[in-house]
């Protein structure tokens, strides 16, 4: 599972991400960024490239596979 969040305070609309992972990130208007927070697994490598290329390091991708389902006492480890 790929989960993504962009710190849009930090994002300066340079659009590198939209260039490298067009299925995940797109510019909306001149400088607002719109993105899919749960991209398809097939786009994982593109997202990894976008994370690395973002000049202000605004993109965060999961560094953990932990998930929780409701009712569980604790995480799947």
């Amino acid at each position: 599972m790929v989960r993504v969040v962009v710190d849009l305070n930090r994002c300066q609309g340079y659009a590198q991400c939209a260039f490298l992972a067009p299925d995940v990130f797109e510019m909306h208007g001149e400088e607002a960024l719109l993105y899919k927070p749960r991209p398809d697994e097939a786009h994982r490598d593109d997202v990894v490239r976008a994370v690395a290329a973002c000049p202000v390091q605004a993109i965060l991708m999961d560094r953990s596979d932990e998930t929780v389902t409701v009712g569980e006492a604790s995480d799947a480890r």
Binding site: L34, K36, D62, E66, V70
Partner: protein, 464 residues
């Protein structure tokens, strides 16, 4: 060194409980682990979902670019936490250091973080609020329901309140070619947060994009049909609007009721804490083991004369959570103040709106770059001859520069030339914020409380 020994034990085998499993709760939990907390970490959240991100709910989700159930936040690391999701905290016993849960369980803590955020203020008339087609927008479930209704192709959507969320909802409707009416009690959209000068630009933006914007009016009632579906909205100017969807966007209420009677300084304005995120009790004495972060917190900001700020901002939740978590695990002298410069973004009608500082403290505004008419500009806010905030419309790249001015308490108006300065930027004009005693729809920064800076002003010898 007994104190050190105590902290070492806390880190090794202590118990930390986080109440509120959303953005602030998650980021705090990650920071606790990052800083070496190896004890028991319990995450309590009343929503039956793992932490998710709210900003997309009024943007990408309403545009059907994504769905509300795809907004779970990525993790910076493994948390190895015990999760109590779908279960509300219902009480706090400060003396016994216990949090009570709705299912009867009681959890003991050595340190507690409260990050219970806010909830949407509902339409005040209960029977009208229950009509089918009346929505608020705060949670995943709210967004799923509203998105579904928009996909059904309603004839018209009626938005009550033109703050950021209401304006973003209207924007999404127009992008989907759905007719939309926006009713705002203030003189323009976003006036509470950005003032009348910028609010006027937001109003033009709405009208040009086909929003039927009604300002200076109040909604007096919602009417349903015999099947209990909303049919129309009545306004204070005597008009009414036929609609099949109403979105109530009247700002937020702080989730502090569960703390009533606990002795913690929690109320409708949030939970007051010191600059290091430690909660105050009702006697005004700071606690040692209870910390606060995110939308529910009210904390004094060194950059703004130690005014207590309540910031309903994503970036604030992240930064305050990190600071609170850090401070939970260290000695007094190693604690950090929460000094984050407020920052916010919104995108609506294809325009990227961002701000830094506290525009709503400003009394004057200077358009230092670009032009209001072109919807591409930087507005700088001044308060007592210093730069206190800035807003950009499609000029985000300049914002770090203005953030620096705010951090260094630069003089206002800025005494230097700026790129692309126009005649309209020659002189500051009144920022035109509404009288704070008259409620508008949901400013996202609330100022309150004692301000040593103001007080000090009275002792400064006057200039002649």
């Amino acid at each position: 060194m007994p104190a050190d020994g105590h902290l070492e034990r806390l880190k090794r085998e202590g118990r930390i409980v986080v109440v509120g499993a959303s953005l602030a709760g998650l980021r705090a939990a990650e920071t606790l682990r990052e800083e070496g907390f190896a004890g028991t970490l319990t995450m309590v959240g009343d929503e039956p979902y793992e932490p998710y991100d709210r900003p997309p709910l009024s943007k990408g989700v309403l545009l059907s670019r994504t769905t509300a159930d795809h907004t779970a936040l990525p993790r910076r690391r493994n948390l190895d936490a015990d999760w109590r999701l779908g279960i509300a905290a219902t009480g706090l016993d400060m003396a016994a250091k216990r949090v009570r849960l709705a299912d009867g369980e009681e959890i003991e803590y050595d340190r507690l973080l409260i990050a219970t955020g806010v909830r949407a203020r509902p339409w005040p008339h209960e029977r009208e609020a229950e009509l089918d087609g009346v929505f608020v927008l705060r949670t995943r479930d709210d967004a799923t329901a509203l998105q579904k209704r928009l996909a059904d192709g309603p004839r018209r959507v009626f938005v009550i309140g033109a703050g950021f969320t209401g304006s973003e909802i209207a924007s999404a409707c127009r992008e989907r070619e759905i007719s939309v009416t926006v009713a705002e009690r203030g003189a323009a959209p976003l006036v509470g947060a950005l003032g009348g000068v910028v609010g006027e630009v937001a109003a033009q933006l709405q009208r040009e994009n086909g929003v039927d914007l009604r300002t200076g009016v109040m909604v007096t009632g919602l009417e349903g049909d015999s099947a209990g579906r909303v049919r129309s909205a009545h306004l204070s100017d005597g008009s009414s609007v036929e609609t099949d969807v109403v979105v109530v966007s009247l700002g937020a209420t702080r989730n502090t009721e569960w703390l009533a009677g606990s002795g913690l300084g929690a109320g409708p304005r949030g939970i007051a804490c010191d600059a290091g995120c430690r909660a105050f009790d009702i006697r005004g004495i700071v606690t040692d083991d209870i910390f606060v972060a995110g939308d529910v917190a009210r904390s004094p900001h060194p950059l703004f004369g130690y005014q207590f700020l309540s910031l309903e901002h994503w970036g604030n939740a992240v930064s305050q959570a990190e600071t609170a978590a850090h401070n939970m695990l260290c000695e007094s002298v190693d604690r950090r103040p929460h000094m984050w410069v407020p920052a916010f973004w919104s995108s609506q009608f294809g325009v990227n709106i961002k701000s830094v500082g506290v525009p709503s403290m400003g009394t004057e505004i200077l358009i230092s770059q670009g032009s209001l008419a072109e919807r591409r500009f930087v507005g700088v806010y001044g308060y007592q001859d210093r730069v206190i905030g800035a807003v950009t419309f499609d000029q985000a790249r300049w914002l770090p520069f203005y953030e620096h001015l705010i951090e260094t308490t630069a003089p206002f108006p800025p005494p230097f030339p700026t790129v692309d300065r126009r005649p309209e930027g020659a002189r500051p004009v009144p920022a035109d914020f509404p009288d704070p005693s008259v409620p508008t729809h949901g400013p996202t920064v609330t100022l309150s409380g004692y301000s040593p800076a103001d007080r000090r002003m009275t002792f400064t010898p006057g200039r002649h």
